[in-house]
């Protein structure tokens, strides 16, 4: 019970860290303190956290353009991420990649990616490399429902299936590709129905229930790890905010948003923790404070870091 409680509390912390990190980012963008664009995953935290929780040392993940949560869940350092988004030399990519392009091989994160579906061939190729080296690890390729209509999605599903690669494609189906409703871009009701025909193991789960995500991801990962070949996990979820900061969400109703917000993944897990008496209110409040403190430290680190080094502007294109 204690082990289980610790596990649940870690899931709670990891989701809250993403939530606080992105809430702060949202403020910073609105105030104009950081430049450019960013895509928030507030409301979708259960997917990366649930999936990452079943991975082992040596397993890999990559992220999408909406990738802060993926990287944080896989062990990204919030300080170096914040510094990257602030355009600082100490950031993961020395200020060159920004919000959508960060990688850290030391924690098994292959990189977030600004092209919709762009990470799918990378994840597939990484899985090919693991298979060639006979290493019993897996790669998780994150994607959104929008990426499911890209050509490379279909090509990669096929390549992974014919070569039986140890890759798990995890789709955060948040029902909208920017403003385009999922039902308008897919003729079947579930993506997993479409993917099944490629010969993958498939499953669709409630993406706001972190325990359901972790359970299904565990099955998919073990399937891939044991040589069964690729798997596809569709997690039904919802982004609470717009696609990016200019989005007024005119394409969806306030009723729909309210209904989904009532199923906040963090609040759902909080309920489970209290129901199970796995944690007290005050313990959970302390976890929330810890997450907030980590975000504050990340911001302080970013602000006190030197700006990206203009003297090295043209360096590092090639090794």
């Amino acid at each position: 019970m204690n082990l289980d409680a610790d596990r649940l509390k870690k899931l709670y912390h990891d989701m809250l860290l993403i939530r606080r990190f992105e809430e702060r980012l949202s403020d910073l963008f609105l105030k104009g303190e950081v430049a450019g664009t960013c895509h928030l995953c507030i409301g979708q935290e259960a997917v990366p956290v649930g999936v990452a929780s079943v991975l082992r040392d040596g397993d890999w993940m990559n992220g999408t353009h909406r990738g802060h949560g993926h990287f944080l869940a896989k062990g990204g350092d919030p300080r170096l991420m914040m510094a990257e988004i602030f355009g600082r030399e100490t950031g993961y990519a020395k200020g060159r990649g920004g919000s959508q392009h960060m990688a850290c091989f030391d924690v098994g994160f292959l990189g977030s990616n600004g092209i919709t579906g762009g990470g799918l061939p990378i994840a597939t190729g990484a899985a090919l490399a693991l298979k060639q080296r006979k290493i019993p690890n897996v790669v998780v390729g994150m994607m959104g429902d929008g990426a499911a209509n890209q050509g490379v999605f279909h090509e990669c599903l096929n390549l992974a299936a014919i070569w039986k690669l140890p890759v798990v494609y995890v789709c955060e189906n948040n029902l909208y590709a920017m403003s385009t409703p999922f039902q308008e871009s897919c003729a079947v009701s579930k993506l997993s129905d479409r993917v099944r025909g490629f010969g993958l193991g498939v499953e669709t789960v409630d993406g706001n229930d972190v325990l359901a995500v972790a359970e299904a991801a565990g099955r998919a990962v073990e399937w891939a790890r044991s040589g069964g070949g690729p798997a596809f996990l569709e997690c039904m979820t919802y982004r609470f905010c717009g696609h990016s900061r200019s989005d007024q969400c005119l394409y969806r109703t306030r009723d729909e948003e309210t209904a989904w917000k009532a199923r906040c993944p963090i609040e759902l897990l909080r309920g489970v923790l209290l129901d199970k008496r796995a944690a007290t209110e005050s313990e959970l409040d302390a976890i929330a404070e810890t997450a907030a403190k980590e975000v504050k430290e990340a911001e302080d680190f970013a602000r006190s870091s030197p700006l990206a080094d203009v003297a090295r502007l043209t360096e590092g294109v090639f090794e």
Partner: protein, 325 residues
């Protein structure tokens, strides 16, 4: 020691040698196993190395080039064959948005040691989607190196360098040159990327080309020589990074430059070289920098049209003659 090999044999020898030397190297592409590739370059290699190292793919260029990028990020050394270089355009996102950028945009912590062998070359009436020159797209792309050999020895030596290179390389092969024979060293010595070669000395005009156009340029130089014009011929060999110092030294000496390219004219490889000559050597010029290229048209299919479109020894010699006149 050298032997006489065809360009295809020289390429196969480089691939085989690197696969024996380095277990990370593997081949990917369409019909490269039993069939040996559309032009037979990898013939027999799957028998030798097995299907895990000579990986046949479905017709899925975006997918398998992207997969090769992912595998190379993880330390493998994929060498991908693109059957007709035109088909590399299906994988542009993988190459331009991903392979070319990863090192810089991920903060110099990753490398993409990938080689894409793209088989190009017009002159066989294969038409607009099986003949075009694609190299200029990649010369325009920061983060990718582009190589285009003209001889069997260069094909071997430059391919060895490309496979050992930690960065992505587009290796342009010309199918018309595959049967061409030449002396090839037995050893596994790489020819460094980024170095042009003077293949004929001359004092009156500098002709610069690459791939098959080097041979047309040399033939033009022989014709010009009978008229008392001595052309220097430079083979760029690597298009990016471009060895402009080598070209400048020659152009400053001859005062005349004829730049030859099989691909279309606008924003072509030679447009870049012309700009560099204008920036670095304009005071030495006795006449305008002259390009001989395909016009800005899709490669037509009919042999009479295709030959009219392609630069030739005749059109190169005419350009040099005009400049020297």
């Amino acid at each position: 020691m050298t032997r006489i090999l065809s360009t295809s044999e020289a390429i196969r020898e480089a691939l085989t040698g690197e696969m024996e030397r380095d277990e990370r190297v593997f081949l990917m592409g369409e019909d490269i196993g039993l069939y040996g590739g559309a032009f037979g370059v990898t013939r027999g290699m799957q028998d030798k190395f097995g299907p895990e190292r000579v990986v046949e793919t479905p017709i899925s260029e975006a997918g398998f080039v992207g997969v090769a990028v992912g595998a190379s990020l993880m330390g493998r050394r994929p060498v991908v064959e693109i059957m007709f270089s035109d088909f590399i355009l299906l994988a542009m996102d993988q190459l331009v948005n991903h392979a070319a950028k990863f090192r810089y945009v991920y903060g110099e912590k990753s490398t993409v040691p990938l080689v894409v062998r793209a088989v190009g070359g017009a002159g066989r009436a294969y038409g607009p989607t099986h003949s075009q020159a694609v190299e200029a797209y990649f010369v325009h792309t920061p983060g990718i190196k582009v190589v285009a050999p003209s001889t069997p020895a260069d094909a071997k030596g430059l391919l060895l360098a490309a496979i050992r290179e930690p960065n992505p390389v587009i290796f342009i092969e010309n199918r018309v040159l595959y049967p061409q024979k030449g002396e090839v060293p037995e050893g596994a010595e790489a020819i460094p990327l980024g170095k042009a070669a003077t293949v004929r000395a001359g004092k009156d005009v500098t002709i610069v080309g690459y791939s098959r156009m080097v041979h047309e340029s040399l033939a033009a130089a022989e014709a010009l020589s009978t008229e008392g014009i001595e052309a220097e011929v430079i083979d760029l060999r690597t298009l990016s990074p471009m060895d402009s110092p080598h070209v400048m030294e020659s152009v400053k000496r001859t005062g005349r430059a004829v730049l030859v390219e099989e691909g279309p004219r606008t924003c072509g490889v030679m447009a870049e070289l012309a700009a560099r000559i204008a920036e670095e050597a304009i005071d030495y010029l006795d006449g305008p920098v002259t390009r001989v290229t395909m016009p800005d048209i899709p490669v037509p299919c009919s042999p009479v049209l295709e030959q009219a479109a392609l630069p030739s020894r005749k059109s190169i010699a005419e350009a040099a003659r005009r400049l020297c006149g």
